[in-house]
Subunit: 227 residues, 2 copies
């Protein structure tokens, strides 16, 4: 096994923290930005690019137009309104994109095998589990077995933040040290909002969960919110 | 569980037989044609369309341009020459597209979940096992667990031909009965060749395996070969 890791870089705080986490451990990081037709993609990808540039990483862009064509979700341009309110509430389940993580992981597995990277990593965390089946521990475990079986044991799947909440991830993020950089993840180059607008709304379940995380660790979120 | 099944329809004889197999059992079949940038795709897809039309199925077309962009394989337009010779020989491993099946299965899982189909099916068979890790029994088993876990137990993966060889599949195919159709799969609307040409070459590993299958069951392959 080598120290190369392929990972999704969504523009959000979880995957950003994970990228920095692996960089701080001396890994070579190969970030991938997926465009699956979400409403917020243009802002997400721009943010992911800013983050990748900060650490001098090459962001691989992967377009998945079939998701909008085949799948139904309010997170997609082809779907209905994004609900407001808390992440764990019933109506947030309208934002599930069926099998999104399964697909991302599979593509990363093939890519990792192609470039000879031993690992693929996903930034799923404890807060994702309630709504997203393909973020739960048993899914990650069986998917790791599938990836190992499907790649002649060349690639394995890891989810280092799987038992942390947003606050736990932010705690780690603020203490990471990477040679030549300031201590801590540049959270100004991250964006969590599900809405189709430049400034984060601060109200959708995703924004609320982020803001609660910063509050819990007693730090100011460096990004600007609407009003 | 309902009688709806999503499956890849490659244009080849295995997936064609599988589609007919499920139709003969009264399933509603949702075929998907993946374009992953293979050299032979234009002929494959045309054949898959002819086959789908024969049974009045709607073929869902999914484009995967990222495979040619990220992955290396001689099966791809972006790769080297397709080797001739027997399927099981060393040089056929140059035709492996890393993680191709993992990716197809994942996309079909999300699609099946979206349309409320209980099953996804793949036409892998015993002859695929030697070269393609993501066609082996242990991969299918762990991937089924992953799909179940990732879709709230809504979708399961089946591989009905997993222990058959080409001849076994052809035996089944020639005996299938579907209301309103002739007995047997219309193999004239299938194509197995890996080469980038209208007429099948009869020489690549894939053609050879098909021809051996027909020979073994004592039937004539209805498609036309070069020279």
């Amino acid at each position: 096994m080598n120290k190369k890791v392929v990972m999704g870089l969504s523009g959000g705080m979880d995957s950003a923290t994970m990228a920095a986490y692996f960089l701080s451990k001396g890994y070579e990081v190969f970030p991938v930005s997926f465009d699956y037709g979400s409403k917020h993609n243009q802002y997400e990808r721009k943010t992911a690019e800013q983050f990748a540039n900060y650490y001098n990483l090459k962001l691989q862009k992967v377009e998945l137009p079939f998701i909008g064509q085949l799948f139904k979700s309010n997170l997609l341009k082809t779907g209905g309104e994004i609900p407001e309110g808390h992440y764990e509430s019933e109506n947030m389940s309208q934002t599930v994109v069926p099998g999104r993580n399964i697909i991302f992981i599979s593509i990363m597995a093939g890519y990792a095998w192609s470039i000879g990277a031993s690992y693929i990593a996903v930034g799923v965390h404890a807060g994702d589990h309630a709504i997203y089946a393909d973020c739960r521990e048993e899914f990650i475990a069986s998917m790791n077995a599938s990836i190992l079986n499907g790649t002649e044991d060349k690639v394995r799947l890891i989810a280092p933040f799987q038992n942390l909440d947003k606050a736990g991830i932010l705690e780690i993020g603020h203490s990471l040290f990477i040679d030549g950089y300031d201590v801590g993840v540049p959270y100004q180059f991250t964006r969590t909002c599900y809405k189709d607008q430049e400034l984060s709304c601060g109200k959708c379940g995703s924004c609320q969960e982020r803001l609660e995380g910063f509050q819990k660790i007693g730090r100011q979120d460096p990004i600007q919110y609407e009003e």
